[in-house]
């Protein structure tokens, strides 16, 4: 403000002094001419500055300000300050926006922003994958033009978004998406998508499991109750021999159910129990001897069983679990090898300290395409044969569980009608070496 008045006074003072001087030396006419000239000079100066300001304003944002003279100096300085502030504000807004964008991109779920006409405004990479959208082409298109599944079209049209929509896209068979629309703001909406293919698979597995367990229990139970009914109705007509025969069969079925329930309990204990101890040492010699004994009993001399030495090696872990896992592998070999076959049970310690327990047989073998599913519960290569040999369908599931808990891996090699080798590879930190005195 001060500089404003100062400038006015300066202009007036200069004009008066120049006017008076010329009046004094020449005449009143020249005095007026000089005053007009002085004022014109000042005006020209201001116009010049104004033009520079205009030229600067037309330049793109960010062009440095020209230097001004007099009062213009202040104007330019003020403008400069403001433009710098605006630029800073813009930058911080841009960073904030960018951060939101990045957050949206990083979401594991698909997100599509739709306007009131269901036109796509923005979407993240996950949505791009889920719906096959294209970043440069699809912003500005209606979502239903690109996501044409009739169920989705009627879902978005109905306007009832309380429940999510399960969509099986035609684009990718076998994938399941859960879609949900959330309205917000000015009639805008968010389309969220989540890939629940895995979840659905798990759900199917759980359903199958329950169905399988019920089925496995129902079959022997039917047999047992059938026998009991027969005995109840015509106990007097049956000879003692016949009655014994029926009771024997019923007993067999009851035992089968018992085995199944034991296995189920074992599985659930494995699933919920605490991790196996790492300091308890299990001597492999003992374990192998026990497992071989069990095999002999089951085989009743029909197979040749060849165990090899262990050099006093041991395993660190739960004795019960390991006994059950290794026992299962051996009994499986007996069950699926015809009489006269050979079963080799061996332990081998590798140079890096890891160890492999393996059971090989020269039995019926397994076709390759069954191998990946073999450890699934109740998965059976040949339903009839497995049940008649007394299997529960849970053996390998237990083996796999136990081995996983001991950080070991189950490897299966098999050739149809040539035999199979099941090996459990234990990591070095679970294996102890040398002839340490047996502690078990």
């Amino acid at each position: 403000m001060n500089s404003f008045w100062a400038e006015i006074f300066f202009v007036i003072a200069v004009s008066i002094v120049a006017g008076l001087t010329s009046w004094f030396f020449f005449s009143a006419f020249w005095a007026i001419v000089v005053v007009v000239l002085v004022l014109s000079l000042f005006t020209a100066h201001h116009f010049y500055q104004l033009t520079r300001l205009m030229r600067w304003l037309r330049q793109p944002v960010g062009t440095p300000l020209p230097k001004g003279g007099g009062a213009w100096e202040d104007v330019f300085a003020e403008l400069h300050r403001r433009s710098r502030e605006a630029a800073e504000e813009r930058n911080s807004m841009k960073t904030a926006l960018e951060r939101f964008r990045h957050a949206g991109q990083a979401l594991p779920d698909g997100v599509v922003i739709l306007d009131s006409n269901q036109v796509i405004e923005w979407f993240n990479t996950t949505a791009e994958h889920h719906f096959g959208l294209s970043r440069d082409k699809d912003v500005g298109s209606r979502i239903t033009n690109l996501l044409r599944e009739p169920t989705f079209v009627s879902y978005i049209g109905a306007g009832q978004y309380a429940d999510p929509l399960l969509l099986h896209p035609v684009r990718e068979s076998g994938r399941t998406l859960a879609l949900q629309i959330v309205s917000y703001g000015d009639a805008q909406s968010l389309l969220l998508s989540r890939d629940i293919t895995q979840l659905e698979k798990l759900e199917t597995m759980r359903r199958d499991f329950v169905a399988n367990v019920s089925h496995e229990l129902k079959t022997p139970l039917t047999v047992v109750s059938g026998f009991i009914e027969t005995l109840l109705d015509d106990l007097s007509d049956l000879s003692e021999e016949e009655a014994k025969h029926f009771l024997g069969l019923a007993h067999e079925q009851a035992q089968r159910m018992q085995r199944l329930i034991m296995d189920l309990l074992m599985l659930s204990a494995l699933e919920t129990g605490s991790p196996p101890p790492t300091e308890e040492r299990v001597a492999l010699d003992d374990l192998l001897a026990e497992v071989t004994d069990e095999a002999m009993t089951l085989s009743k001399g029909r197979h040749q069983i060849v165990p090899t030495g262990t050099n006093g090696a041991g395993l660190l872990g739960s004795r019960n679990e390991l006994r059950s896992a290794l026992g299962n592998l051996v009994t499986n070999a007996i069950r699926y090898t015809p009489a006269g076959g050979t079963i080799r049970i061996s332990w081998q310690t590798d140079d890096d300290g890891s160890g492999v327990f393996s059971v090989s047989d020269n039995g019926i073998g397994i076709e390759n395409h069954h191998l990946p599913r073999l450890t699934e519960r109740f998965y059976r290569v040949d339903r009839g044969r497995s049940r008649e040999s007394g299997g529960t369908g849970l053996g390998l599931a237990i083996v796999k569980h136990v081995l996983t808990r001991h950080q070991a891996v189950l490897k299966i090699q098999s050739e149809l009608s040539h035999g199979s080798t099941f090996s459990a590879q234990f990591p070095a930190h679970r294996v102890t070496h040398g002839a340490i005195s047996k502690t078990s």
Binding site: T144, N145, R148, E149
Partner: protein, 240 residues
């Protein structure tokens, strides 16, 4: 492109509306073909029945969209790209309806095969593969229509040749089947119809692609060599 204009005027809105209707009809056709092929490979009789029953919805869509097209032309007297769009849509819905018929045909033939008690269909794997390719082509065509993308449409014309080759392969295999075992003649005929239906779906997708090039570029590319068609689809990009 009308779709990029957010402040729809009444006329633009009508055009956009009809485009959306076409694409939704297309979505239904896609699903029908997909379901028909899936039902065939999974021996799902109920699904086949459903596909066959659903066909009338597609037919109704065709009639309705065609009438709307005529109405807009009469009322608005469109020119240039808008007129081409309406003319093109009127032809595209015919092709879509035929595709829908093929899906129903596949389902019906599937029912016949299962009614005869045959659980093994010769060349099923090939037919499924060709069917998936055909659905893929139709989807690409509809996407190209949604995006008004002439270049993507041109690629469809080339990919259709692949389905044609697949069809020839299936034909050859079926002939071998028939020669080996005359009892397979009747079922082979049914399979032949299914394979032909799949091949025709590819052709209809190609026709739709040609209409898209006509709509966006204004040049009729029916019955021209593929090289020229591709040039037309891309060349106009530089002019724009």
């Amino acid at each position: 492109m009308p779709s990029n204009d957010h402040s729809f005027k009444r006329y633009d809105q009508e055009l956009e509306e009809i485009r959306t209707r076409v694409l939704q009809m297309g979505g239904l056709v896609e699903l029908q073909i997909h379901d028909a092929i899936k039902a065939l490979s999974e021996f799902d009789l109920i699904e086949m029945e459903r596909v066959d029953k659903n066909d009338h919805r597609i037919n109704a869509d065709e009639v309705e969209i065609d009438q709307t097209c005529a109405l807009i032309i009469a009322r608005r007297q469109p020119t240039a790209v808008d007129l081409r769009m309406l003319m093109g849509i009127s032809k595209i819905v015919t092709d879509l309806e035929r595709c829908g018929d093929k899906a129903a045909l596949i389902a019906r033939k599937g029912k016949v095969i299962f009614a005869e008690g045959k659980m093994r269909i010769p060349c099923l794997a090939d037919i499924r593969e060709a069917g998936e390719m055909a659905v893929g082509l139709l989807r690409t065509a509809l996407n190209a229509f949604a995006r008004q993308d002439a270049v993507a449409a041109a690629a469809i014309v080339r990919d259709d040749l692949e389905i044609d080759r697949k069809f020839q392969g299936i034909t050859r295999q079926l002939i071998t089947f028939i020669m080996e075992d005359p009892r397979m003649i009747s079922i082979s005929f049914e399979v032949m119809f299914i394979a032909k239906a799949v091949e025709r779906i590819g052709d209809h997708a190609k026709n739709i692609a040609e209409q898209i090039i006509y709509i966006t570029r204004g040049t009729d590319v029916r019955h021209v060599a593929f090289d020229q068609l591709e040039r037309e689809a891309q060349g106009a990009d530089e002019i724009e």
